[in-house]
Subunit: 162 residues, 2 copies
């Protein structure tokens, strides 16, 4: 098999594994646990979940998959720190939006060839991209997988069933 | 440029960025902060740092770069949970070992071509690899980058200078 195909396959597997772990963890927390800070004075899992959902939703236009589905999340989970607004959404609602965004992303990911992955994302100009070819879709995918793990490590401090 | 080269470049950039962030964070914590739990009853940064160092050290033979430099870390930071033994090493000593292991890894990474990255790692047999070609070096690299982010997200709960 061509190395490009295998390299992309590794990255998509890791995205899916990380996503599964995040879905199980956040989806397995009770509404009360979702509102229990991960450490005194730190973010609550509901905020981290919303933050990851907003960041993933923003991937749709960034990777050229389609329009955003839930731009309304940004004011609560991106532009502002954790606070009362993060409770506007229940865990159940967040789960629905999370699943919706991720299904849309997966469908988009499935269509990209290795050449599509190393093509520029929509936030870099053709001119800048010529000088900085690493500003491609693949770099974004890897970075966002890492970002999900970063916050999943934090959210994991609130144990399911505890 | 060939897509395989660009895909590998993205992954190595992310490894380096994540490593830099981890080095700055752990290296910027005082000896006291390294021993301050990230949340009540949870791991201390010195333990997470040792854990990441041990896991990175184990990458040397796993990726076929060379022998382990510090197998003595495993008993403290892999086989056992956080405890008094984690204090056997000062932050200064951990920094030295961390830098040593990472320099060796970087030198090894630099020699791999895209084809080397999609070749099997040393913990999978040729027979299993024929059936499961994703069990390659690249999958390990991405997974370990993600693992570093996971624990860095946790360690970041102890702020430098706080």
């Amino acid at each position: 098999m061509e190395s490009g195909v295998l390299l992309v396959d590794s990255a998509l597997r890791l995205w899916n594994t990380t996503l599964d772990r995040a879905s199980k963890h956040f989806g397995g927390l009770s509404e009360e646990q979702l509102r229990q800070p991960i450490a005194p004075g730190k973010n609550r899992p509901i905020y981290l979940w919303g933050h990851l959902t907003a960041v993933s939703d923003a991937l749709l236009p960034l990777l050229g998959i389609g329009d955003r589905l839930h731009p309304e999340l940004d004011a609560i989970y991106l532009s502002n720190p954790d606070g009362p607004a993060a409770e506007n959404l229940s865990g159940k609602e967040m789960q629905r939006i999370w699943d919706e965004v991720n299904a849309r992303l997966s469908a988009g990911f499935a269509k990209f060839t290795a050449e599509d992955w190393v093509a520029r994302h929509t936030a870099v100009s053709a001119e800048d991209f010529a000088r900085e070819p690493h500003r491609n879709r693949f770099t974004i995918l890897l970075g966002r997988t890492n970002h999900m793990s970063y916050h999943l490590g934090q959210a994991a401090l609130v144990k399911r069933g505890s």
